[in-house]
Amino acid sequence: MTEMSYLDGNMLDGPMRELFTVDLSTAMGRCENCGMTGSMASLHVYSHAPGLVARCPSCEGVMLRLVRGPDRAWLDLRGTTFLQVPMPMEQTVAGPL
């Protein structure tokens, strides 16, 4: 038997695009368990499971779970304190019209 291996967080991009338009691989996240902030692409993703389980590369705490049913999906981010997502520069609002 081989040791269970994991994939890197880049593999979450496709499944997450089903839910959001955000490119998760460019997002940063903070681990609720150990406080480390890092790229979501660096998470360890266990996919030989009933869902995707993404763990912090530092403490192995669960940061994200994504379950895909035939007609529904569940996203659990309780192990992620925040997601920091790059955004286009906000348009400066002109004065009152």
Binding site: M1, E3, H48, V53, E60, V62, R65
Partner: protein, 199 residues
């Protein structure tokens, strides 16, 4: 062409056991895991049943092995749609482990080395339906399949048979576990195809 009577072609095929709906049969034993495989030394291994009144019942590895052993042969059904017929295990019935536990709880939350949890009604762990098993096919249970010991509750989807089991917390209120909080069914009966919440 003559009429061939049934029975002239040898013994009738033995009846294949039925598969639950939506399942396929597999001969191998897929390894599913939601995280790194915990490595637990038998010197420090323990199994603990924590009753709702705060009392703990503990067994060391030696104490578990000294209890009456059973060798159930059962069919198992994974929610990822594979089923495997006629798996043989060795371990201790939960009836034996619960015998001296004074409880009025209706629910159990199984918890594992590595942090996994899964919830079951306590009645589903009684009546010869559930075991803490330490051997598979006559050999010690490999770590990737949940060794040193895992829960075996074959009448429910296999995510309820917690690998690397460390104990049970008995509860008056149902508390959903690792997959049950992320969309999976609270009970998980494969014959009623209770895969996801609301099924």
């Amino acid at each position: 062409m003559g009429i061939v009577s049934p029975g002239f072609q040898g013994r009738p095929r033995t009846q294949e056991p039925a598969l639950p709906p939506g399942q396929y049969l597999t001969e191998d034993f897929p390894v599913l895991s939601a995280g790194p495989t915990p490595r637990v030394s038998l010197d420090t291994w323990e199994f603990v049943i924590s009753a709702e009144n705060g009392s703990d019942h503990r067994w060391s590895w030696q104490e578990l092995m000294a209890l009456p052993q059973e060798t159930p042969t059962v069919d198992i059904h994974c929610v990822t749609r594979w089923s495997k017929f006629g798996t043989t295990w060795q371990g201790v019935s939960l009836d034996t482990l619960l015998a001296d536990v004074d409880t009025g709880a209706h629910f159990a939350l199984a918890h594992s080395y590595g942090g996994y949890t899964t919830n079951l009604p306590l009645d589903d762990l009684r009546g010869g339906q559930a075991w803490v098993v330490h051997s598979f096919d006559g050999a010690p249970l490999p770590a990737e399949h949940g060794g040193p010991a895992r829960l075996l509750v074959p009448h429910l989807y296999f995510w309820k048979s917690a690998k690397w089991v460390r104990g049970l917390r008995l509860k008056t209120m149902d508390e959903p576990g690792f997959w049950e909080t992320a969309g999976y069914h609270d009970y998980g009966d494969p014959w009623r195809e209770q895969r996801y919440q609301g099924d």
